[in-house]
Amino acid sequence: AQSVTQLDSHVSVSEGTPVLLRCNYSSSYSPSLFWYVQHPNKGLQLLLKYTSAATLVKGINGFEAEFKKSETSFHLTKPSAHMSDAAEYFCVVSGGGGSYIPTFGRGTSLIVHP
C-alpha cells in the first residue's frame, strides 16, 4: 500500500523569501515520487521527480526536493519565491504499493505576497 500526506493545505510567503512545501509518504516498496504544479485553469505540470537515483532532485523554475528515506519525506523547496509561483502543488507517490498507479496528496496552495 502507499499513501502521501501533504502537511499544509496553505503556505503563505513573501516574494523573495524561501519556500518549503512538506510531503510525507508511506510505501511497501521503493517508490517514485513527484511534485506537480497546477496553475489556475491549467493542467498539472511536472516540477521534478525522484526515481531511485540522486536523493537531491532539481526541477524546473528553481525548485528542488530531497528524498529522505529515514524520514519518509520528499519536501519541496525554493530559495526565493516569485509571484508566478503562486499555484497549487501536489506531491505524488507511485510504485510504492506494488502498482504503478499514482496516489496524489491533497495539495498545498502556495500564496505569494508582494
Binding site: K42, G43, L46, Y100, I101, P102, F104
Partner: protein, 114 residues
C-alpha cells in the same frame, strides 16, 4: 511543444444523461489515463489504458464508466448515466512509457451534473 488537449473545457449535463469527454494525448505516447478531482478534494486515479485495453482501474471506475481509443489520436471517457456526484474536473494524461514515468496532463474538463 506537444501537449495533451481536452474538449470541452466545461460540460453541463442533466442527471441520467450520457457524457463523453474527449482527449488528444501526445502523439508518440503509449499510456493514457483519466483522473478526476472533485472540488476541494484530491486528484483521484480512474483508469489507465495501454495497447488498446484497460491496464488498471480504480474502485471509482465502475460499470458506468468506459474508455475508448476510437482512432489513432482520440482517447475518450464515457459516463453512461451521470449522477450528481460525478460533478468534478476530469483530467486526461499520457506518458511515453510506464506510469512511473512523467505523465503529461491536459487542462481538464469541468463536468457539472444538474
Amino acid at each position: 511543444e506537444p501537449e495533451v488537449t481536452q474538449t470541452p473545457s466545461h460540460q453541463v449535463t442533466q442527471m441520467g444523461q450520457e457524457v463523453i469527454l474527449r482527449c488528444v494525448p501526445i502523439s508518440n505516447h503509449l499510456y493514457f489515463y483519466w483522473y478526476r478531482q472533485i472540488l476541494g478534494q484530491k486528484v483521484e486515479f480512474l483508469v489507465s489504458f495501454y495497447n488498446n485495453e484497460i491496464s488498471e482501474k480504480s474502485e471509482i471506475f465502475d460499470d458506468q464508466f468506459s474508455v475508448e481509443r476510437p482512432d489513432g489520436s482520440n482517447f475518450t471517457l464515457k459516463i453512461r448515466s451521470t449522477k450528481l456526484e460525478d460533478s468534478a474536473m476530469y483530467f486526461c494524461a499520457s506518458s511515453e512509457f510506464t506510469p512511473v514515468h512523467e505523465q503529461f496532463f491536459g487542462p481538464g474538463t469541468r463536468l457539472t451534473v444538474l
